[in-house]
């Protein structure tokens, strides 16, 4: 189980996290890895919190649920508050500073990136924030071959939106690389 990577995507309903987890899982499959994707539903299908997990391994994956995330994405404050205490310090943490205002504990390596803001301002569409987040995650972890990932995104995107989504993915890379210096538990962005 040494190769097991557990990725936890958290945020609010409507932020496209479940779709992102499926895209990630699909990309991993195309990259010839074993993968399991799960999600948690609230008491109802509507509103509220949203959480999806992806496990990637070269071995067979037995237990399908995320227990010790190696990657955590928090797309809103509530999920940040809830999940940060549950991960171990080694975990790669990416938060959307558009919605999350900390506090960024010093003992965690937290990449606070203005994900939704960048999607809105630089691509004109908030809805692609999820792909942008995937770009940032892959930039940080190299979970999946970048080209295969891009292709997978194109394949799964709704008709006509393939390129936009790929752009968002690439923007995620850029954002992550630009933000590299700030992995200090403190976001460089003032959240609004």
């Amino acid at each position: 189980m040494s190769n097991r990577q557990e990725i936890l995507l958290t945020g609010a309903g409507g932020q496209g996290l479940i779709l992102a987890s499926i895209v990630l899982a699909e990309a991993a499959v195309n990259d010839n890895k074993n993968v399991v994707q799960t999600q948690s539903y609230g008491p109802e299908a509507r509103g509220g919190a949203s959480m999806a997990g992806v496990i990637i391994d070269v071995d067979t994956i037995e237990y399908p649920k995320v227990t010790k995330p190696s990657v955590l994405l928090c797309m809103n404050q509530a999920s940040f508050n809830k999940y940060i205490p549950k991960v171990e310090p080694g975990c790669t943490i990416i938060v959307d500073s558009t919605f999350v205002s900390g506090p960024y504990r010093e003992d965690y390596k937290i990449n606070a990136l203005p994900i939704t803001q960048a999607a809105r301002e630089q691509l004109g569409r908030e809805v692609v924030a999820n792909m942008l987040a995937l770009g940032a995650i892959n930039a940080a972890t190299g979970l999946v071959d970048r080209e295969i990932f891009r292709e997978s995104i194109f394949k799964l995107a709704p008709k006509g939106s393939g390129e936009l989504n790929q752009k968002a993915f690439d923007l995620g890379y850029r954002l992550y690389n630009e933000g590299m210096g700030q992995n200090l538990g403190i976001s460089s962005q003032t959240p609004q």
Partner: protein, 268 residues
């Protein structure tokens, strides 16, 4: 609404679980106002509901509340009403709850003319399970189980009720909340089984898939297509095309079942 909210809503349970722009809240608010106007004591009022987004209203209403099984609300309510005829029962159902799985109890409550106030929140879809078509989804509209548009014909819920023997049927909508309140009140004051169909937007599971815009657009369309019974009587059939009748569609009198029963055993 402040005092009403404090008294008749379980404020600790708010904000509710419904999606932004969901009509369930509008209908629930109209119901609360109407209940207040009936003059019934809070302790005499019972809210019974089935299962669905709309049926979750029961949990937010500060009365005796009974959230039953999918489709069976009227059957539970029938038992309760017969046991305690002095209680005033409002039965909240979704369109699927009432007319799909619950269709049989609906027609039998109508036949018996038992004094229950059915409030059907018709969003033309199964909201809670994510957008499958219901017997009230208009032909051609899309749903997760009708990706190309449903081929099935829809019920006219009030015609169904009438055919089953109901004595009161009215239709309102979330885009005319004052009129809706008024109609619920009239339904509540009717003796016997009353059917109140409240058209309500589900922007998430219905509007989005059918490209009807957001909640605001859906409400606007709802308002525009509503034609009151009075107005309709002066309109040509062609003008009525695509319109929806609203107001009290029918109202007659017949013996009420629980009263008849208690009279028959010498107790009323």
């Amino acid at each position: 609404m402040e005092q009403l909210t404090q008294d008749y809503l379980r404020t600790k349970k708010l904000p509710h679980i419904w999606c932004p722009g969901c009509g369930n809240g509008i209908v629930t608010a109209a119901l609360v106002r109407a209940i207040e106007r009936t003059g019934y004591d809070q302790s005499e009022v019972v809210i019974v509901s089935g299962i669905g987004c709309s049926s979750r209203a029961a949990g937010y209403l500060n009365f005796n509340t009974l959230h039953t099984t999918h489709g069976r609300a009227l059957a539970f309510a029938t038992g309760l009403k017969m046991a305690r005829p002095e209680l005033k029962l409002f039965v909240i159902m979704g369109d699927g709850d009432c007319s799909a799985i619950g269709g049989n109890h609906f027609i039998h409550a109508a036949r018996r003319n038992i004094d229950l106030n059915a409030v059907i929140i018709n969003n033309h879809i199964y909201g809670m399970t994510g957008g499958q078509h219901s017997p009230l989804t208009p032909t051609g509209m899309k749903a997760t189980t009708a990706p190309g548009g449903t081929l099935e014909r829809a019920f006219d819920l009030l015609e169904l009720a009438r055919g089953a023997g109901a004595t009161f049927g009215a239709r309102g909508n979330a885009a005319q909340p004052r009129q809706l309140e008024q109609l619920i009140l009239r339904a509540a004051n009717h003796k016997g089984f009353s059917v109140l169909e409240a058209l309500s937007p589900c922007p998430i599971a219905y509007g989005r898939r059918n490209k009807l815009g957001g909640a605001v657009e859906m409400l606007r369309e709802m308002k525009d297509s509503a034609v009151s019974m009075e107005k309709a009587s002066g309109m040509e059939p062609e003008e009525l095309e695509g319109k929806t009748l609203s107001g009290v569609i029918f109202s007659t009198e017949a013996p009420e079942f629980s009263e008849e029963y208690y009279r028959s055993i010498g107790k009323a």
